[in-house]
Point group: C2
Chain length 350, copies 2
DNA sequence: CTGTTAGCGCGTTCAG
DNA sequence: CTGAACGCGCTAACAG
C-alpha cells in the first residue's frame, strides 16, 4: 500500500498544462472551456484518478449542498417514509441529506443541531423534540434557513409543514360516536408536543359537538412508542366501566395497544373497537383491518424540502409559510356499532 | 433577519484579546492555556455564539472523523439493526456516520462511493452490491480504509466481516431432513451475491451428506425482497410434486413466501413447512412461530466498525482480517415431520 | 476562452 | 504558556 497522497487540482492542472481554475471549470461545468483543452483536462483527471475535495470546495464557495434532517424516531416507518420524501427531493436538486435521530430528547436534539451547523449545512429540516422556540432561534442565528416539520412550535417566525391533527382526530372520533360509542379512551403521545395535544383536542371537539362530556381518566398521555401504547392500553382495560372504544394517537401506540388487547383475549371489533392515527405497514400475515386516519408521509417530507430549497434559492415568498396538509380517513373493520346490552356490560379485565 | 456573517475564530480572538491559535487550543482542549486566558476566551465564544467550522478544521487536519456506511436496503430491519451497531460504535469513538442506500444497484453504489470519498470520509463500511473487486480497489486507491460487510468479494486484500451463511443454511436444511422432508425448495437471493450462493451451498451440502440429490427446479434465485419471495413461492406451489418444505434465503423472502402460502390457503406447518434465514421482527398481532437461523445483526455492525476504527488508529494487525460470525438456530413451530401418506399426496395448487 | 491573485477558516510548525 | 507565519484544496473576482 503506497502512501502517495491523493492528487489535487494542481496536479491535474500540471499534467494537462493548464491552470488550476481551468480544471475547476471542467469539473464543475462552469464557465467557458475550449473543446480541446477540456479533452486534455479530462484525460489528466482519468489518468490520475482525481477526485475533487468537497471540503475545500465548500469552504471556498460557502455552500455545502447538504441539508440536515433531524427527526425523533427513525425506527418508525412513518418517519422513514417522510425521510425518503426528503431525500428524493433533495437529491434531485443536487443536495445530500445528513440525518439525525433525537429519540424525542431535547439534549440529543441540541447535540445534533450543533454538529450539523458546525458542518455548515445549507439548511435544516427539524422535527422538534419540544415546542420550545429556542432551538429554532439558535439555527436562525447562524443564518441557516430552517423548516419545522410535523409539529407546531412556540414561534411564529418560521416555516412549518404539518398535517391537520385536530381534524383527523375529529373524524375518527365522530365515526365512533356515530356508531353509538360513548365511553372512548384516547391514548396519546407526550403532552407538550402539538401533534399529541391536537389529537386530543380533535377528540374533545367531536364530543363537545355531540353534546357529550368525558371523564378525565379516559384521556391518557404517554410516549409515541409501542411499549407506552401497551401500558396505556392495559390502564384502559382496567377501568370501570371499561371504554367500548380506543383511539390511539400514532401508529406505534396503536401497535402496542393491539398487543395488550390480544393478551387480554379481547376480539376487535367484537369485544372492543380500535381506531388509530397513522396507517400501519402492510403485514403479510394478516389482512389490514385497522380503521385509521392516514398521513401523506412522503409528501410531507417532499413539501418541507421544497419549501427549504426555495428559501435557499431565494424564490420563496418573503413571509413565513405554514403548510397544513390533509389527512385521509380509511375505514376498515376494527370498529363496530355498540350493542344496547353492551353499554351496561362493563366487564373488568384482570 | 440581519445578514451578519457567522463569527470566525479570529472574531473570538479579537474579542478576547488573544491570538486565533489560543482560541483554537481552548476549543479543542489541546496544548496549554492559562486559567485566566481560557476564561476570557470562553466568555467571548459564548457572547458571540461562535460555532467552529468543521469544514475548515477537516481541511486543515486532513481528517473528518466521519465514516461512510453503504448498504443495500435500509428498509430491511436487518440492515437497520446492523446500522445501529455501526452508528453506536462510531459515535462512541467520536465519529459520525454518513449513510448510503444502494438498493443492490452497482450504479447507485458507484455514485455513493464517489460522493463520500469526495467528502473525505476517513473510512468506508461497504455491503457490496456485487462481488466485483473494482469498487474496493477504487476506495483503496484514495488511501481510504474499507471494511466489506456481510458478503464476500473477489478480492483477498481487504477486511471482511460476515456470518457463516453456509453453516446456517446447513443447519436449517438438516433439521428439515431429520423430519423426513425430501423435496425441499430453496428461495434465495440474486446469484452472484455470496450470501445468496452460500445459503444454497449449505442446502446442497446437507442433502449431499444425507446421500440425497435434488431437482434443479427447486433451487430458485430472485431478489432479497418481499415481492420476489412472493413470486418465487407461487412458483414452488405450482410444482409437481409440490415440495413439502421451503427454505427462504432472508427475512424479506420469508415474508413474501408467507403471504403466498396464506393466499394459497396452506397452513404452516400442517400443509407445508417453512424455515428461513434471518429472524423476523416481533409482530404484535401473532406469536412468533417461524423456525429460523438468526444473525447477530447488531454485533456485525459493531465488529465491522471496530475493525475499521482500529485500522484508522493503526492498531489493527497488518494482515487483512476475515471475521466470520456464528449464526443461531431458533426452532419454533413452522416445521413438522412429514407423514407417510403425504409423500405421495402431491396436490396441485391453482 | 484562459490565467493571476487572493483568501475561505482553521491548525501545524516553530519561535519566543 | 502564547503567538506569527504559512498552507490545506479550492474557487470568486477580476484581468487579459
Amino acid at each position: 500500500m503506497s502512501e502517495k497522497p491523493s492528487p489535487t487540482i494542481r496536479d491535474v492542472a500540471k499534467r494537462a498544462s493548464v491552470s488550476a481554475i481551468t480544471v475547476s471549470r471542467v469539473v464543475n461545468n462552469s464557465g467557458y472551456v475550449g473543446q480541446e483543452t477540456r479533452g486534455r483536462v479530462e484525460a489528466a483527471i482519468a489518468e490520475l484518478g482525481y477526485v475533487p475535495n468537497t471540503l475545500a470546495r465548500s469552504l471556498r464557495s460557502r455552500s455545502t449542498n447538504a441539508l440536515a434532517l433531524i427527526l425523533t424516531d427513525i425506527t418508525n416507518p412513518f418517519w422513514t417514509t417522510v425521510g425518503r420524501g426528503v431525500e428524493d427531493t433533495a437529491n434531485e436538486a443536487g443536495f445530500t441529506v445528513i440525518l439525525g435521530n433525537t429519540d424525542e430528547s431535547e439534549t440529543k436534539q441540541e447535540k445534533y443541531l450543533h454538529t450539523v451547523l458546525q458542518q455548515q449545512v445549507d439548511g435544516v429540516i427539524l422535527v422538534p423534540a419540544s415546542s420550545s422556540a429556542e432551538p429554532i432561534l439558535f439555527i436562525q442565528e447562524q443564518n441557516t434557513p430552517v423548516v419545522v416539520m410535523d409539529r407546531r412550535v412556540d414561534c411564529d417566525d418560521v416555516d412549518v409543514v404539518r398535517v391537520d391533527s385536530t381534524g383527523g382526530a375529529h373524524q375518527l372520533v365522530r365515526l365512533l360516536l356515530s356508531q353509538g360509542h360513548r365511553r372512548i379512551a384516547v391514548l396519546s403521545g407526550p403532552s407538550g408536543i402539538s401533534t399529541s395535544e391536537d389529537r386530543i383536542a380533535g377528540y374533545r371537539r367531536a364530543l363537545a359537538e355531540a353534546g357529550l362530556g368525558h371523564d378525565a381518566e379516559v384521556v391518557i398521555t404517554g410516549g409515541f412508542n409501542q411499549q407506552s401504547g401497551y401500558e396505556m392500553a392495559w390502564q384502559v382495560l382496567n377501568m370501570t366501566p371499561r371504554p367500548s372504544a380506543l383511539f390511539t394517537g400514532n401508529n406505534f401506540i396503536g401497535l402496542g395497544a393491539l398487543r395488550a388487547l390480544r393478551e387480554a383475549k379481547l376480539r376487535i371489533p367484537e369485544d372492543i373497537s380500535l381506531v388509530s392515527f397513522d396507517d400501519q405497514l402492510p403485514d403479510f400475515s394478516v389482512e389490514p383491518f385497522l380503521t385509521v386516519v392516514a398521513q401523506p408521509a412522503y409528501e410531507i417530507g417532499q413539501r418541507a424540502t421544497e419549501l427549504l430549497l426555495s428559501r435557499l434559492a431565494g424564490t420563496a415568498p418573503a413571509a413565513y409559510q405554514e403548510i397544513v396538509m390533509p389527512t385521509e380517513l380509511i375505514v376498515r373493520r376494527s370498529t363496530r356499532p355498540v350493542q344496547g346490552a353492551e353499554l351496561k356490560d362493563a366487564i373488568m379485565v384482570h
